[in-house]
Symmetry: C2
Subunit: 172 residues, 2 copies
DNA sequence: AGGAGATCGTCTGTCCTGCAGACGATATCA
DNA sequence: TGATATCGTCTGCAGGACAGACGATCTCCT
């Protein structure tokens, strides 16, 4: 690139920050690949990877309301409505009237949903291992741990759900 | 798991995999926050965070063709067309006829584009530091490094661009 | 008790973007 | 030279995010 004289133009345009580690690109590329892998693994779920994420969040995090579930996953409320419609239509989840607040509906997985999710979790875990095959086991764990901490810290108000889930679901 | 008392309810439906570290959710949540921060920092660029990513990829990675640029960023070719239209309209980039292949157009940043990108890179770097303020400096570096490695490894065919860029742009 | 405001879920409409297909222009190979 | 492939652009389609409105319900304040 330095074959010709470009002395006056741009000798060092990025002296302070440069872009040594494009965090945004890494996140986007990795998430893209993850979505592709998971979509392939969850092709039989109503909305593919999205349906899996919803089912997993419902089961593992137990968000109190439908709105909290949507906020945690970054999905719009209006989309969550018909998303849950189809999941309920397949018998994976149930909308239960919250006795304490009749406006709210508690989204709970059915027994069938739990079974399906266990299978899907295994498949997704396999797909994730394939995705991260360039890293050692220790590095994978470190990446997962750092990502989880950064995301928990950065998420605006979604943490409450996770906290509630952890309190509700102690280690057996 | 106890082999005898698993009869009634659902004692342990996820014995094998569970979901101790929801990799997909962490990636999605962190990328969402990153996008929000970067969009706020790049509000004056034609397409916000997307425009910044394109400008950064054009400058730092120097993809050989417009199609390679689109593939690297995971953006459709048709979208890239009018995305570059607006960036060129603002004088940030230029479409140059590739003398070796007159079908292709080399996307290069203008001097103004380099200056703007340097400013944006600094802003983005600040936003990223704010995003990761829950991690120590060493942890941030580790996360960036692991993410970059995992993404480079997982990206299907985009690596060529990066390799080419590294070869073309050796350390001064 | 009663009313004002907020919250929850749903519906409607709009906009953006990714996707597939087709086209002209050009390069490569038989 | 002609057949095929690639590059960039344009067009139409579908899915999803976003904003707004609505009825039903809860909460708080008087």
């Amino acid at each position: 690139m330095s074959t010709t004289t470009e002395d006056a133009t741009a000798p060092a345009t990025e002296p302070t920050s440069a872009a040594p580690s494009p965090l945004g690109w890494s996140l986007a590329a990795l998430l893209r690949e993850w979505s592709a892998h998971v979509a392939a693994a969850c092709a039989d779920v109503p909305h593919g990877g999205r349906g899996y994420e919803v089912l997993a969040a419902v089961t593992h995090d137990a968000p109190p309301t439908q709105a909290a579930l949507a906020a945690r996953l970054g999905i719009d409320r209006t989309v969550m409505t018909y998303l849950l419609d189809e999941l309920a239509g397949c018998g994976l989840i149930e909308r239960q009237q919250d006795p304490a607040d009749r406006r709210a509906r508690r989204i709970v997985p059915t027994d069938h949903g739990r079974v399906v999710l266990a299978e899907l979790d295994a498949r997704v875990r396999t797909a994730e291992d394939a995705l991260l095959d360039g890293l050692t086991t220790a590095e994978r764990d470190a990446l997962r741990h750092l990502l989880a901490r950064a995301a928990d810290r950065a998420a605006p108000g979604d943490d409450r759900c996770a906290v509630v889930a952890r309190v509700v679901d102690p280690a057996p």
